[in-house]
């Protein structure tokens, strides 16, 4: 997202009504309950304590806030905001620790009635003296009334910690740097300029100021990069050479295996979720009788998901390990939401398979009809070869080694059949609910007795980041389209190939309309450039939002992505109830695109291992067969031959909610 652009265009956001603006800036971020809303949201007639105290202490910063876009889609989420807020105060580590402990204490007493900002300010002004700060807070109410006028003026600014990004900008403006450093990944395949090893603490602290600022810095130095544009690899290593690698990991497994809980807990253990938020989740989940889902709420954000206790669309979050910046994609496990899971897995580098070790539960998730198999097959077919397996909920089996081994043995056989190499799979015993063996070696005696391997975090840290094809022509498949705050609109997706610079002209395919990239943001931070492998949201102008749909591809305007409705594919047929014949209607999943299609021709049945033709024009394709077929899609789509662009050369075939085959595109016909 181009921050300054939004600022300039603020008046354009008039089409958002007041509620919209508010919704975006506060509510959506946190999914506040009504009770919290009353405290966080600004309501002139009621609670302006947060703002008033804020204004009192920070008029200078508040000015900046005015310039900040209210509804910037790519802001860091709340938890990060809070922590980065601390950063802006440029405290020493010791002070920061003091502040944190004071805050916790205060919250214990005051609960959620006082805003985070207010707490911080008060603590700071009383030099970390807990008692004084408490006194001050309790007597603070008196200050309120006289601030009303000011609030009115600034009523469009949300009463939140919004100062912090602004403040970062100030810093940057004062000290514009020339050399690009960045918090984005390099890959194994790219030679890094130098590699700064982060000390262990960075794993548990959210981003350090060092990590944070460069992204914003970059917005000041677009011109300096133009000449590098010709050499993508150089640009990449310049930009990313010194940073942690980005690793996208999709979390898969049968519904209720504990995926969301595991990830939620991991984030909590890493300090990515504030105590406050967690406390809130605990209270609220208790209220609707779903307390066991409190950690899952970190990722399950929509009301629907929380009430039902299942993930429906891919949840995202990020954290850092020693050597990597990890972006997790929490996939829904329920069979009905596999299309969403495919979208998530299509963007991931590696997968974490979570299985429920509880007796009976593992079995039912693993049996036919359970999602353990289908998910594993899907991610493999989508090109993911590295797999970590979390044998979860071992707490329910009293950390039995036998049970662990039993599950590992069963999975090993299956995963091998599915095409994973044994050496690419790591099995970790853990419990998401108790937090055992997630970020540090186990405490549980029963587990210590027999398990000597790495904890989950270390396993993730050891995953290899694939080579990013930065020097190929740009391809980015769109998986989300939403309104931005300024002019234009945003599309989100993963850059499969090449480099995307701000200001680039890109071709939206298959509609073949030229659009201009007005802004890029990577993991919610504005950036001037993005590379293959990055998941970005891109602000576009020059095309009508109505004309763009999920599954479209942003392409290099010169070396365009092929568009066709008919292609040849090499299929691997899974376990199917009925054989595939010609004329078989299917849904094809290609990246985020789902489209109805037809198998129009069965060209040849192949030998599974040698690939030689067994039979030409077979009548039908049965279980586990390999074949070459022609597929016709009901309208033209953007596809690539597998040998050209792997990510855009894969299709999944589904019928009646079951994945029946995976295919690689071998030829594309002109249509």
């Amino acid at each position: 997202m181009a921050r300054h652009r939004n600022v300039r265009n603020r008046s354009y956001s008039d089409d958002y009504d007041y509620d919209d603006v508010y919704g975006h800036s506060v509510e959506e971020d946190n999914c506040l309950s009504p009770s919290d809303t009353s405290q966080w949201m600004y309501d002139r007639s009621r609670n302006h304590q947060a703002i008033s105290s804020f204004l009192e202490n920070h008029n200078d910063i508040q000015e900046e806030t005015e310039e900040e876009p209210l509804t910037e889609p790519s802001r860091p989420e709340l938890d990060r905001r809070q922590s980065s807020d601390l950063r802006c105060l440029s405290l020493t580590e010791a002070d920061e620790a003091k502040l944190l402990s004071c805050l916790d204490e205060l919250r214990n007493i005051l609960g959620d009635t006082v805003s985070e900002n207010m707490l911080i300010q008060t603590v700071l002004s009383h030099k970390f003296d807990f008692n004084k700060a408490l006194d001050a807070l309790l007597s603070n109410d008196k200050n309120k009334p006289k601030q009303t006028e000011k609030i009115k003026e600034q009523s469009r600014a949300p009463p939140l910690v919004r100062i912090e990004p602004a403040k970062t900008v100030i810093n940057v403006d004062k000290t514009p740097k020339v050399i690009a450093t960045n918090n984005e990944p390099t890959t194994v395949g790219v030679i890094k300029g130098f590699k700064v090893e982060q000390d262990g603490s960075s794993g548990s602290r959210p981003q350090t100021p060092r990590d944070q600022s460069p992204t914003t810095e970059k917005s000041n130095q677009a011109p300096s990069k133009v000449k590098e544009k010709n050499d993508p690899n150089k640009q990449y290593s310049n930009e990313r050479g010194s940073d942690k690698d980005h690793l996208y990991i999709v979390v898969i497994g049968h519904v209720d295996a504990g995926k969301s809980t595991l990830m939620g807990r991991l984030l909590c253990e890493l300090g990515e979720v504030s105590q406050r938020t967690l406390h809130k989740y605990e209270q609220e989940s208790k209220k609707i009788g779903k307390q066991s889902f409190m950690y899952a709420w970190v990722l399950d954000e929509t009301g629907e998901e929380r009430v039902r206790g299942i993930t429906m669309d891919v949840g995202r979050a990020q954290f850092e390990t020693k050597t990597k910046k990890v972006i997790i994609l929490d996939a829904p496990g329920h069979a009905d939401f596999i299309p969403n899971m495919i979208t998530g897995a299509g963007q991931a580098d590696v997968a974490l398979l979570v299985v429920d070790a509880t007796r009976g539960e593992f079995e039912s998730g693993f049996e036919l009809g359970g999602q353990t198999r289908e998910h594993a097959l899907l991610v493999r077919s989508l090109g993911i070869s590295q797999l970590a397996v979390a044998v979860n909920k071992l707490d329910t089996t009293n950390w039995s080694e036998d049970r662990f081994n039993e599950i590992v043995t069963k999975l090993k056989i299956f995963l091998k059949q599915a095409g994973f190499k044994d050496s690419d799979i790591t099995y970790v015993p853990c419990s998401g609910l108790t937090g055992e063996n997630l970020v540090k070696p186990p405490n549980e005696l029963e587990l210590c007795k027999w398990y000597k391997g790495p904890c989950l975090l270390d396993v993730i840290d050891r995953c290899n980041v694939p080579v990013r094809p930065v020097s190929k022509p740009l391809r980015m498949s769109i998986n989300d389209i939403f309104k931005s705050t300024g002019t234009g609109f945003c599309v989100a997706g993963r850059i499969e190939n090449g480099i995307l610079n701000k200001g680039d002209k890109v071709l939206v395919c298959p509609i073949k309309e030229l659009a201009e990239v007005k802004g890029i943001s990577i993991n919610d931070l504005a950036s001037n450039v993005a590379f293959a492998g990055d998941q970005v949201s891109v602000t576009l102008s020059g095309v009508d939002m109505q004309n763009v749909s999920v599954g479209n591809v942003l392409s290099d305007p010169v070396q365009q992505v092929p568009v066709s409705s008919r292609f040849e594919a090499r299929l691997v047929v899974f376990n199917v109830k009925v054989p595939i014949t010609k004329g078989y209607p299917i849904l094809i999943h290609h990246q985020s695109l789902v489209e109805s299609a037809n198998i129009v021709k069965l060209k040849a049945l192949l030998n599974k291992s040698t690939g030689e033709i067994l039979k030409k024009k077979p009548r039908c394709l049965g279980n586990n067969s390999v074949a070459v077929v022609d597929i016709e899609v009901c309208r033209p789509i953007c596809i690539e031959r597998y040998k050209d662009v792997k990510e855009l050369g894969r299709v999944m075939l589904r019928v009646a909610g079951v994945t029946i085959a995976a295919g690689l595109i071998t030829d594309i016909y002109d249509t």
Partner: protein, 387 residues
């Protein structure tokens, strides 16, 4: 359709008078009329008359034309059947041999003359005039962002409205855009239902989706109905039937029609029975591949061996312009019937018929396995047939 008269000679030549009564009947007419047939119907013409003073006036007159059909167009959406051909009976307004277009109209008689009324055509007349044909069913298949509002009549599945919108995904800080988008989508689907479904005719409205979309939508719709005091929806609440479907694409209707709860309500519709039949073909292909064949050549061979148990054939094959081809298919049907085979002519307007069309248009389940057919490469040119 109402049969006015039927006048057919022993050699199969003759004419039939029919009155189409509903849009469905246009589909039947479309399947009956072939190139070369003669059709007599009334139509409105603009006629220029010149008065003795030389000024010309134009007025519209209704007149009856008979044309030799040269082209047939059927608009599935509007259910309009348009025939083109030369006039073969001169009358006071239209010259002999002049080209004319004839739109068949509902509730107006037309007469169809054929050189040969074959068994398939006669069956069609009978089916079209069967008053017991079941009432219509409406079905909405949906998923987030995609919905098809369909009307299922005895011989057609018509997509009345397709709603395809982009709903922003759930993302940190944008849950509201997602929910707003969802509501907009629900609203569009609801409008589609109100606009296209006639609750007087339809006995049941199926809402089908994966996950909770159908439930959420139904709740939304009923809430809106109460809010806006929409009597129509409130009174017909009981007609809605919520079932599972794997997607919002039209084809998932196939799953819907196999749902036991749906079957119970509409078991006698052609659409549902055709789905079931085709499914049993596929099951046979899986279990005993030597007892399930498709493609004209294979099926013909099986018929010669008196092996056909069930023959599925798409009505599309009988609409082909090549008269000799049609003859071949009719002959196959007649002979199969003679041999005690159950012959089902699928409507290419239903989902399973669409699929059968893609599968060469002809498939059969055999009484006994014929593995020798499997090995024969006869079917090689079946690709050509289906095009």
């Amino acid at each position: 359709m109402k049969l006015i008269y039927k006048n057919i000679e022993k050699d199969g030549c003759g004419s039939i008078g029919l009155v189409p009564e509903e849009s469905e009947d246009m589909w039947h007419a479309y399947n009956l009329i072939a190139e070369g047939d003669a059709v007599t119907a009334s139509t409105v013409r603009k006629v220029q008359t010149e008065s003795s003073t030389g000024s010309s006036t134009s007025n519209r007159v209704r007149t009856t034309l008979t044309i030799r059909v040269e082209s047939i167009d059927f608009d599935t959406q509007a259910c309009v059947l348009r025939l083109k051909g030369r006039n073969i009976e001169e009358n006071q307004y239209v010259k002999m041999g002049a080209y004319h277009t004839l739109d068949l109209e509902q509730n107006r008689k037309f007469i169809l003359q054929k050189v040969l009324w074959d068994s398939v055509a006669l069956d069609r007349v009978e089916a079209a005039c069967d008053p017991t044909a079941t009432a219509d069913v409406a079905a909405v298949v949906m998923q987030e962002g995609l919905a098809h509002v369909c009307l299922i009549t005895p011989s057609m599945t018509l997509v009345r409205s397709k709603i395809d919108v982009t709903i922003p995904r759930k993302r940190k800080g944008f849950v509201q855009q997602h929910e707003k988008g969802l509501n907009k989508f629900y609203d569009a689907v609801m409008q589609g239902i109100l606009r296209h479904i006639d609750f007087n005719i339809v006995k049941c409205v199926i809402l089908a989706s994966p996950g909770f979309v159908k439930d959420q939508f139904f709740d939304y719709m009923m809430q809106q109905a109460i809010k806006t005091d929409n009597k129509l929806l409130i009174e017909n609440k009981g007609k809605f039937l919520l079932v599972k479907a794997s997607s919002g694409f039209k084809h998932s209707l196939k799953e819907v029609l196999q749902e036991p709860s749906v079957m119970a309500k509409i078991s006698d519709t052609k659409a549902a029975s055709e789905v079931k039949l085709l499914e049993s073909f596929y099951t046979m292909l899986q279990l005993e591949p030597a007892k399930a064949f498709y493609g004209k050549k294979h099926v013909e061979k099986a018929n010669e061996a008196l092996a056909l148990e069930t023959l599925m054939i798409s009505d599309k094959l009988f609409r082909c312009q090549d008269i000799s081809k049609r003859k071949e298919y009719v002959a196959l049907v007649d002979s199969a019937r003679e041999n005690g085979c159950d012959v089902r002519i699928f409507s290419s307007m239903h989902v399973s018929g669409e699929q059968l069309d893609q599968l060469t248009g002809i498939a059969a389940i055999l009484r006994f396995p014929m593995p020798e057919l499997e090995d024969s490469d006869l079917e090689g040119d079946s690709d050509v047939e289906s095009d």
